[in-house]
């Protein structure tokens, strides 16, 4: 839990703290970690620490963007499907199965090839393919809550179905959903990094995958270029996962 807080805080504080801009030339190229450049410099003499900090910001921003999309689509599909049931449920579940069957990574590559590589393409493609598991979770939660007393009480009072959904059911669904949302965001960050590594990310923004890609050429001479960007991703993903686990435990202790 503390790990995620640390990561998020550093991302926000980042541009203030980072000694140099993301693409700024700052020191002798390919120098190992030293006092003034804690993570060394890359082939063009850019400070790696700054690169990693900026790259992490990008990853978190993309992860956040996709997270919002996933939450919106997933909640909409899951809640409607779970609450209404019947034919609507069937149709929506078929839809999720179709989306789920497609290999996300390859679809993203094709999409990026067809449209221009960029942050918006990334967010849209990843968002449109990652919502499935989240939708299933929401649906399951809604189904389990559907017949509880407080829902029946609300209906008995004459509340419309939509009102019941929004004010009674959804707030209770939120608790469990956060866990899965964290996992989805973690997964998306990994995907974004891999796509960046393949050179398919947004060339105008600093990204950790891009840094790793540059490191590939210089493995023999500049090991630090390969070590730190990936390490940063690992920390973020671990943090999100642990956060999800911690939240899950807190939730189950509550109910």
């Amino acid at each position: 839990m503390t790990l995620t807080v640390l990561v998020v805080v550093s991302a926000i504080v980042g541009p203030v703290v980072a000694p140099y801009g993301p693409f700024e030339l700052a020191g002798p190229p390919l120098s190992p970690p030293t006092g003034s450049h804690l993570m060394g410099t890359d082939a063009l003499g850019r400070d790696l620490l700054s690169g990693v900090i900026h790259g992490t910001r990008t990853s978190l921003a993309i992860g956040g963007g996709v997270g919002v999309l996933v939450a919106l689509i997933g909640t909409a599909v899951g809640a409607v499907s779970g609450y209404l049931g019947g034919r609507v449920d069937d149709v929506l579940m078929r839809l999720t199965e179709i989306v789920q069957a497609m290999p996300q990574f390859f679809l993203a590559i094709v999409a990026i090839a067809l449209f221009e590589p960029g942050v918006d393409t990334l967010v849209v493609v990843l968002g449109l393919t990652s919502w499935v598991i989240f939708a299933r979770v929401v649906r399951a939660e809604v189904i389990s809550l559907r017949h509880r007393e407080f829902v029946e009480a609300a209906r008995a009072q004459g509340a419309s179905r939509r009102r019941v959904l929004f004010s009674e059911i959804l707030p209770n669904v939120a608790g469990v959903s956060v866990v899965y949302l964290a996992l989805v965001v973690a997964h998306v960050i990994l995907l974004e990094a891999s796509l960046g590594f393949l050179g398919l990310g947004d060339p105008n923004v600093a990204s950790l995958g891009q840094l790793a890609r540059q490191a590939q050429e210089f493995l023999r001479t500049a090991w630090w270029m390969a070590l730190f960007p990936g390490l940063a991703i690992m920390v973020v993903v671990l943090g999100l996962n642990l956060f999800g686990d911690a939240w899950n435990e807190a939730e189950s202790r509550r109910t």
Binding site: A101, M102, P103, Q104, F105, F106, L107, I109, V110, I112, A113, A186, L190, A193, S194, F197, L198, G199, L200, G209, A212, A215, Q216, L219, R220, W223, A226, L227, P229, G230, L231, I233, M234, V237, L238, N241
Partner: protein, 286 residues
């Protein structure tokens, strides 16, 4: 268009190329042609290579299949093994170690594991070759070639496997732990069946069922990881081919690889679902 004709053609040349490849037909009819060809197994002609797409893909397909297949086997076997180790004494130091290790493997991006492995095992320790599928100097005997191939295959396959090991290990562990609490296992223990037999024969077999489904479902991610591993290790497979196709705007190859990857993932999913149905009598009865 640019991929086919280069930058420096003039209007006439572009028109000629468009006509040749049918690119100025309306989009709908292009799609119709594509679908019809697809049914006969014809994926079109590569813009860049000038050859049949199936041919170009076919050359690299074996390499990727070898890499992915080996990784699949390694990760399944390794994952199950680790899961059982962890489950044998839940909460013990072995369990914590396994869980921690697998969590780390899951969180680390594949390219990072690949690059670090390359650094440590190939460049520093010299245990494995650095690049490619075969050595520049080809060994003379078939046995020698086989060993050489295995030597080159080892590190990339292990790296790719590490990506998948985590989920399989976790699932196995949970499954086995659950099974160990079940009544029929208790009966076996009460009868005096030795611990290890209980673990392996009774608990593991039932716990393995969901693992089968997961393995099938993860084929998509396996192929994605294979693409990254191919870049890191210079392995000549379809992942790399797809990437150069993106850079060269070689759409037919791009679509071809995508279709094959998607198709494989879907088929794998189907196969494991069917197998699960067969293996679990509870399901086939319903």
């Amino acid at each position: 268009m640019l991929a086919l004709a280069g930058d420096s053609g003039d209007a006439e040349y572009y028109a000629f190329m468009r006509d040749k490849f049918g690119l100025d037909e309306p989009l709908a009819s292009q799609f119709a042609v594509f679908s019809r060809n697809l049914l006969t197994g014809d994926l079109g002609t590569s813009y860049v290579h000038g050859r049949d797409v199936m041919e170009v893909i076919g050359e690299r397909l074996g390499a990727t299949a070898l890499l992915a297949g080996t990784a699949l086997v390694l990760s399944t076997v390794g994952g199950v093994f680790l899961g059982v180790v962890g489950a044998s004494r839940p909460g013990g130091w072995r369990d914590v170690g396994v869980t921690g290790f697998t969590l780390g493997m899951y969180a680390a991006p594949v390219f990072w594991i690949g690059q670090i492995s390359l650094l440590v095992f190939s460049l520093r320790l010299g245990w494995f070759p650095v690049n490619g599928m075969t050595s520049a100097v080809v060994p003379e005997t078939a046995w020698g070639r086989g060993l050489d191939l295995a030597h080159h295959l080892a590190l990339p396959a292990m790296v790719l496997a590490s990506q998948q090991v985590a989920s399989i290990a976790r699932l196995t562990r949970t499954g086995v732990v659950d099974e160990l609490e079940s009544p029929h296992v208790r009966t076996a223990r009460a009868k005096g069946v030795p611990r290890r037999t209980v673990l392996l024969r009774h608990a593991l077999r039932r716990a393995l069922l969901p693992v089968v489904t997961v393995v099938g479902a993860r084929v998509g991610y396996l192929l994605a990881g294979a693409t990254v591993v191919e870049i890191v290790f210079g392995w000549p497979g379809i992942g790399r081919l797809m990437l150069t196709a993106v850079q060269n705007r070689d759409i037919p190859i791009l679509l071809g690889v995508f279709l094959i990857a998607a198709g494989t993932a879907v088929v794998a999913n189907l196969l494991t679902d069917l197998t699960y149905g067969k293996l679990d009598p509870r399901i086939s009865r319903s």
